[in-house]
């Protein structure tokens, strides 16, 4: 029992803060890992990350006019995602740069909103919360919101699944069939925007990228087909979040300050270690395996 207490501090499961954190963490992990799989497949990590920063712009604007920040996050992410897809820049490099310019503009707006926030209201503590948000400060009233957003996001992907997969792996094939990959692209970016909004609020805007990309990238190195990719990816995401929450809860009496280490630090470190662990070579049938893994996962192209 004593050893058990050493791993899980007393009161872990009876605290409502923790149960809320676990529930929201679970929903976020599932949605992020599914959306993340397509993000990695389509090499759109930068857009995935940009949306989390652009979300902050919406959050800051919402805060400025006094509505719940989640509205700001969701609305601006949907808008930005649709905008980038409608621009329809096909060249990968150009698309990347365009994302950067849009992100730069959005960040500029964020700095203005935050400036106005801090000059109109008291301190800059809210700023930090917006940027580095913590899963322990999510209000339990948001649970329903998260449930609804999770369902919509997953539906966006499930409904267009086949077309999206084809558009991600073999866009030329789709063009031969005279079908535009645009619809699948827009519905994917909507799903991505929602997933990123959720994770921005749960683990902070700047760290949602870890949850989006890490588990999916690790899963692609391990799995042999799409179904197992989704399975592994969501398992890795859920484990990282749960373990991160647990460690952060435990860290309340760790040195040096005894006020707890941030969840996001633990989550990111766990995800990073899991990703590194996928590079440890398998002792048996190593040769066979490399040939069978998905061509999109590992190679540097």
């Amino acid at each position: 029992m004593r050893f058990f207490h050493f791993i899980i501090e007393p009161g872990f499961f009876s605290s409502t803060v923790v149960t809320t954190a676990l529930l929201i963490g679970f929903l976020t992990a599932i949605v992020s890992s599914v959306a993340g799989t397509f993000t990695v497949l389509r090499s759109q990590s930068f857009i995935g990350h940009a949306l989390s920063d652009i979300g902050t712009t919406g959050g800051a604007a919402a805060y400025l006019i006094g509505v719940p920040t989640i509205y700001g996050f969701v609305l601006i992410n949907l808008a930005a995602g649709t905008f980038l897809e409608v621009l329809g820049i096909k060249n990968k490099k150009e698309r990347d740069v365009a994302t950067g310019v849009v992100l730069g503009g959005a960040l500029g707006l964020t700095s203005l909103f935050l400036y106005l926030d801090t000059t109109n209201t008291s301190g800059s503590g809210d700023t930090m919360n917006l940027l580095f948000g913590s899963i322990f400060t999510v209000q339990s009233s948001l649970e329903v919101w998260f449930g609804v957003l999770a369902v919509i996001s997953l539906l966006c992907i499930i409904v267009t699944y086949r077309q999206l997969l084809l558009a991600s792996v073999q866009p030329d094939l789709l063009r031969i069939k005279k079908r535009s990959p645009k619809l699948a692209g827009i519905s994917f970016l909507a799903a991505l925007g929602l997933a990123v909004s959720m994770s921005s609020i749960a683990i902070g805007a700047i760290l949602s990228t870890a949850l989006l990309i890490g588990p999916a990238a690790a899963a692609m190195r391990l799995a042999k087909n799409m179904r197992t990719v989704f399975l592994y990816s969501s398992i890795i995401a859920v484990i990282s979040i749960f373990l991160g929450v647990l460690l952060s809860y435990d860290s309340y009496d760790w040195p040096p300050f005894h006020h707890g280490w941030p969840v996001s630090f633990f989550v990111v470190s766990i995800i990073f270690l899991i990703y590194l662990a996928t590079f440890i070579p398998k002792p048996t049938k190593a040769h066979n395996r490399t040939q069978k893994t998905l061509p999109v996962g590992g190679s540097n192209v």
Partner: protein
Amino acid sequence: MFEPFMINTWISASIIALVSAVVGFFISLRGQAFIAHALPNGAFAGAAAASLININPLFGLGAFSLFGAATIGFLEKRSKKDVATALGFVLLLGMGALFLSLTTQYSQQIFSLLFGEILGVSQSQILPTALLALLTLMLAVGNYRRLLYTSLVDEVASSKKISVSNNNFIFLLLVALVTTMAIPVVGTLLVFTLLIAPAATAHLVTKTPKTALGLSVGLALGSVYLSVALSYLSNWPIGFFIGITGLFTYTMGHLWIKLAS
């Protein structure tokens, strides 16, 4: 606007705009805007670490941007480029979150590292900025041709016996140097926008690398001067003006092409 205390601001703004435009030229050519975002924001962790152990933030920034560049370079050889950048980036961010939570510093200082306080540049900041700028420019000019090759087509470069992975590292090193140089003066946000927007616009509207490079420098200097002036007059954060100017010129660039064709 041109009082003695503003002289440092104009000098450091010019240096940073010049160097960012040159490095941004390669970033835009390679389509690696994510790197330009990841290293400055990630190196922010170094500033937090430096304030934790009470040393000059410049050392923290330098150490962490080099560490970030090395991590991304290591992962790039083993996975997709964007995935490598994302993972190296979040590793730095996670450490940053930890250091920030451990410091008891007033968050205003952190705010200024994020969004920049260019209107209060001190004399002592000019020398390190200028030295780092010189180093970066020498590295960029010395490797101009090699970088141009690898930035355009990896295959051509490897057929010319230019090592692609070495060049990728030189490129990452360039971004790390700009990061270290510019963050203490102008903040992470501004570095990112300066690295992306002028060069992106220049690439859109020009045909040869040399004119693109020249226009990139011109646009960067122009938008920085305009933003410093507007920020001085309105008291609003300079990052806002830089970001919006960048977005505006880029959109104009797209319109220009549409009209020309």
